[in-house]
């Protein structure tokens, strides 16, 4: 029963919230998530098969033996902290319900061990995402997100059918097609540019649902990649995907200068970098995915939570700023943070593959993001001059920032909770990372952008003034115009075809044509 307890806790909490008074809603949500976290932690102590129904390859299979457990812990932990922010304030029941359901959907997905269960988990995740989007996302964004997600889910179904039932049969499936389907599914699950609709929607809905949505999207995307590592997929059109990943990298980095939707663009930039790393064929794909996803989720959550906390004294504000600073430092890749270790792994694999150019691009994108992040730190929290929160409120961001520092000092901590054989190689320690013979270029790639970014931050006003029009036109990169135009053209075409169908169906024309066809068929066969 321990194994289904987290799901029961979350689903039961969501159900009870529908009937409970709003006064106790946040408390109930907190208790449900805490229970889910405890039970998930309990699975660490007793890993095993959660549920098996049918053969291992083609039946339902949930287990806690893979890296999914780490992501499950991460998701429940971050959501717990997010619910705890502003604990004394009421939250609307639909928001709390959608948050708990998102967590439940994520858990089912993260504990899946084969394609069929993953597909079912994908479905539940999409449904819970829909409930989250209904909390205030732009209707068009929500529609696009759901359509893309559902279509990518079918790509998963295609690959399930192709792999499981055509192996060994006279009918050969195309491994290139299969690889492409897996990449498509993981690209969408992750919400990587140009299908970043879920991340956009996460910025539009209330903080709690938005934070949960972003966390769940990143965690489930990361988990998917640990199951189906891209370097192992044969025949993926790498050039096209490299271009797209590079586009995501710079789209995210440049857009951070717009000073809105910061966490969206930071996420795009960072996972664009990871995507480049995976496509370049890095040997430490699983470790990089794990570490970067964890650091990204924690760091972005620190930023979001930090903006929600309401410190009432200057000392409390200072404490919150330090926590935010750790988050920013991890996102920049400052040494002794989790982000630094993740970047090290990625750049190391680039250099091993002889992809120095990509390292340069990654460094450049990092330099671009440092300025806005420093600006966020210096200006953001000061906007909230009047707060009611106490020291407990100020300490909450530290719950998320502290692991960033711990993982920075001890990277193997990320993989410590799972069995080593589930990660392709064991995690290197910090000492091992720093002791790599060719470490100087990696140091340069990580540290130089920080310096460059600081300089850019110092001359930010002057630069923005000189390049004002360029920044204003950056919104084209969001592809709203392209999607809108495509939808309009599609709507016109569908409207035209609908008209034709209605004319054929509505009158006698259709039956006449049918009759003529049948008579002709009859005469031909006779």
């Amino acid at each position: 029963m321990l194994y289904v307890a987290p799901l029961v806790a979350l689903l039961g909490g969501a159900l009870l919230l529908l009937f409970l008074s709003p006064r106790y809603g946040r408390l109930l949500a907190l208790l449900s998530t805490a229970a889910a976290l405890l039970f998930t932690g309990g699975m660490v102590a007793r890993p095993g098969i959660l549920l098996r129904c049918g053969p291992e390859e083609t039946g339902l299979l949930l287990s806690t033996e893979g890296p999914g457990l780490i992501f499950a812990l991460l998701v429940t932990f971050v959501i717990l902290v997010s619910i705890g922010v502003r604990f004394s304030e009421r939250e609307e029941a639909p928001v709390l319900v959608s948050t708990l359901l998102l967590a439940a959907g994520a858990l089912l997905f993260l504990l899946s061990r084969n394609l069929l269960t993953l597909y079912l988990g994908w479905g539940l995740l999409d449904l819970t995402i829909l409930l989250g989007l209904a909390q205030g996302a732009s209707p068009r964004t929500a529609t696009r997100a759901m359509i893309i997600n559902f279509t990518a889910g079918l790509a998963l179904l295609f690959s399930l059918l192709a792999t499981t039932y055509l192996e060994g049969s006279p009918t050969r499936y195309n491994p290139q097609l299969l690889a492409l389907l897996i990449v498509l599914a993981s690209w969408v699950r992750w919400g990587l540019y140009p299908v970043q609709m879920v991340h956009i929607a996460a910025q539009q809905i209330p903080f709690l649902s938005g934070s949960a949505l972003q966390t769940v999207t990143l965690a489930t995307g990361g988990y998917f990649l640990t199951l189906y590592e891209w370097p192992q997929l044969v025949g993926v059109p790498r050039t096209v995907l490299l271009l797209l990943a590079g586009l995501a990298l710079f789209y995210g980095a440049l857009s951070t200068w717009r000073k809105e939707r910061l966490s969206l663009y930071l996420a795009q930039s960072q996972i664009g970098l990871l995507a480049l790393g995976l496509l370049a064929g890095g040997t430490r794909g699983g470790q990089a995915v794990l570490l970067l996803t964890i650091s990204l989720v924690l760091a972005l959550s620190v930023l979001r939570v930090g903006m929600e906390v309401l410190p009432s004294t200057p000392r409390q504000r200072f404490v919150v700023k330090i926590a935010l600073g750790i988050g920013v430092a991890s996102l920049c890749g400052l040494p002794l943070t989790a982000g630094f270790a993740a970047r090290w792994l990625i750049y190391d694999s680039f250099f091993r593959q002889g992809q120095g150019l990509i390292v340069g691009l990654g460094a450049l994108s990092s330099a671009l993001t440092v300025g806005p992040l420093l600006g966020f730190i210096s200006r953001g929290p000061d906007r909230r001059m009047k707060g009611r929160g106490g020291w407990a409120s100020a300490a909450i961001p530290w719950l998320l920032a502290a692991p960033l520092a711990i993982l920075g000092l001890y990277p193997p901590g990320a993989g410590a909770l799972v069995r080593p054989e589930t990660i392709s190689e064991s995690f290197p320690s910090l000492v091992q990372l720093l002791g790599v013979p060719s470490s100087l270029p990696i140091w340069a790639a990580i540290v130089l952008p920080l310096l460059l970014g600081y300089l850019v931050f110092r001359f930010e006003e002057w630069l923005l003034h000189r390049a004002g029009r360029f920044w204003e036109r950056l919104f084209f990169l969001d592809l709203e115009g392209l999607y809108g135009a495509t939808e309009k053209v599609g709507a016109k075409m569908c409207s035209g075809l609908r008209g034709v169908i209605m004319v054929v169906e509505g009158g006698s024309l259709g039956w006449l044509l049918l009759l003529a066809f049948l008579v002709a068929l009859f005469l031909w066969r006779g």
């Binding site: 509505g506 009158g507 006698s508 039956w511 006449l512 009759l515 006779g526």
Partner: protein
């Protein structure tokens, strides 16, 4: 028999043609009634007289079901629905020419694919009625005309089928189908009239 089989077939062809070509409701309704009478005479040669009489009685019943509603709708301008303004397809010459073509097609099909075990005059009448019935349905612009076409088609089909299946239960159920069909036509016609009043 009062009329020969050939005369009856020509009579049926004429009544079916009237229903298809002429839009005047009185003519169409009376043509339908005559159609049932002629079918009864045609079947009396191969079925028991009581069954043939039952067919005629059923036809009379259908006539009296349809008459009141169409009488109530008399004198009102025909339904002018924007999507079905008078087009070439619904003009009298085309209806006439189309009916002639349909008759020829039906004759040709029968010649090529004769019905086994069915007397030639019955097969001919049946084919004509089914074809003309479908043609009337295709041409029809309202429930009344389409309903007449359906009843004509059904009559033609039953003419054929009763030569193979002579069970009383089946005949009774087929008759019930006709009666129910006849009941829907005035209901739908009444709805059409009510909508027309609302539109005005």
């Amino acid at each position: 028999m009062v009329f020969s089989a050939e005369q009856l077939v020509w009579g049926l062809l004429f009544t079916a043609g009237l229903i298809a070509v002429v839009e005047e409701w009185r003519i169409s309704l009376f043509a339908l009634l005559i159609q049932y009478v002629l079918v009864g005479f045609l079947l009396s040669g191969s079925l028991s007289p009581s069954l043939a009489l039952a067919k005629i009685a059923m036809g009379g019943m259908i006539f009296f079901i349809l008459y009141p509603t169409t009488w109530r709708g008399r004198g009102k301008p025909p339904v002018r629905i924007a999507s079905q303004e008078r087009t070439l397809a619904t003009t009298f010459p085309l209806r006439l020419v189309g009916s002639v073509l349909i008759v020829l097609v039906a004759y040709g099909l029968l010649h090529q694919y004769p019905w086994e075990g069915v007397a030639p005059h019955l097969a001919l009448a049946s084919n004509f009625l089914m074809a003309m019935g479908l043609w009337t349905v295709i041409l029809g612009r309202g429930p009344f005309r389409m309903g007449l076409g359906l009843l004509t088609f059904q009559t033609g089909f039953e003419l054929l089928f009763t030569t193979w299946e002579r069970s009383l239960l089946v005949a009774g159920l087929l008759g019930l189908v006709n009666i129910l069909l006849a009941l829907t036509i005035p209901y739908l016609k009444a709805v059409e009239l009510a909508r027309r009043r609302v539109e005005r």
